[in-house]
Amino acid sequence: MTHLTIALAQINTRLGDVQANLAKHLELIDEAGRRGADLVVFPELSLTGYVLQDLTPTVAHRAESQDPVFQPLLQASQSIDILIGFVEGDVRHRFYIAAAYLSHGQVLHVHRKVYLPTYGLFDEGRFFAWGDQVRAFDTRFGRFGVLICEDFWHASPPYLLWLDGADVFLFISASPGRGLNQEDRLESARWVEQINQAYASLFTAFVAHTNRVGFEDGLNFWGGATVFDPNGVCLAQGPYHEEALTLADLDLAQLNRTRTRLPLLRDERTALVERELGRILSRAAKSEG
């Protein structure tokens, strides 16, 4: 496959009403398929809403074929790949902010958010368990990496995915809008767009991002889905603050052209990173001891 048509769904959700959100997912999956998309990407916690607090245990599911919520989603994934955001409850009753990549009726990958912001207006660490893996995975379009919001505010998860072979990064958020000033967009939108573009440029890779819209109490979510290509060029951008399904055609051969011009991946000194990281961490361990 040399082309991937990606549909970025920036949706509003009903807080804690998984069935209502599932119905909206199925409608948009259908619409994305009719418009020719190969993959549809939903925001963080798209099946549940974001500020769940004590609702967390009541909305948890597991990405498996017997699960009543995943059953129709897996069925829909026969014709189009799907990335959804949900609360994963494990067998030991721990809850994770998670994303599942579904394709041809199979769960190809589940990512559990590894960085849970618990500061300022965020309180995720109070309600959720921390994911502990960053892994790229193979799809019919090549090797992908998935991260959730705060994950990509740390440079290491995207870097690890890059080294693990990801050429297409799928980032999903429920980013509360904040920072009103004289600019034409909120500061939170500018911050996220800047780092998405930076990752695309630094990793000479495709970076697609989608984000919630709507309100939860006084919080607004700003939407503004984007796709950046390996040159850091914005291929498509969704509107701010309203629901939309934004399609972008990714010419995967651009990876070849950009990396020929700019062989940052070829020249990455991973052994040096490992050696220096080992030294830094062992020194840190000694000084702490």
Partner: protein, 277 residues
Amino acid sequence: MVDPKPTLDINTELARGILVDFLATEIRRAGFEHAVLGLSGGLDSTLACYLTAEALGPENVLAVRMPYSTSAPESMEHAGMVIQATGVKELTVPITDLVDPLLARFPEADAVRRGNMMARARMIVLYDQSAAFRGLVVGTGNKTEILLGYTTLYGDSASALNPLGDLYKTQVRLLARAIGVPEAILAKAPSADLWKGQTDEGELGFTYAEVDRLLLLLVDGRYSPEACVEAGFDESFVRAVVERIRRNQYKRAQPLIAKLSNRTVGYDFLYLRDWGT
């Protein structure tokens, strides 16, 4: 380049879009189509009225004028201009007959008590109209007065939702101007209109322009009081404002509940108001 220093300047179109959307979304998901607000003819309630009319359609908004016998006649006139310009429904309920019996019982009540009685009488009228008109009460308090505690608890601070609570007075003025609020309302000195000649700035002892610049550094910019003094603010002014913010925290909080059980509202029984919607 974006100026790294916090700024009071705002993109008024962006603010308007978010606030109108906020009002429409949050009122409707609570199961309502209508809104009620107290319209004094001042800047805050005028802006709230414009935004709510745009959010729900003017026919779904009830603006209530609640003059007291000493209220300035121009307040009623200015509120009338807003009602005409926005096309909202209106009701005039003088509060003199509510307040005066209480004042007669306590003739020694000072200006603060009198002002609080009036603000709470208006709250009673608004919440009664909330039930009668089947509309949520839209608040009109701005960030400056919330932080300074320049408000009557369970009086003018009482509302179901407040579109202006994260805008400083200076920003309310910017947005109001951009939205087309009549010049007469923009030009007059902000006042609670509790007695003749009263102005907010006279009572507070500083101007909104001054205090908003300071609050922006203290609150939004997370500057220490010392850093604010270094930035050029008078030390006694900074100290007075910092203390005023601290002293009024109770007005921004729910009543304290003494924890006894394993699960207590406010501490570990945590749900958004939008739960399930």
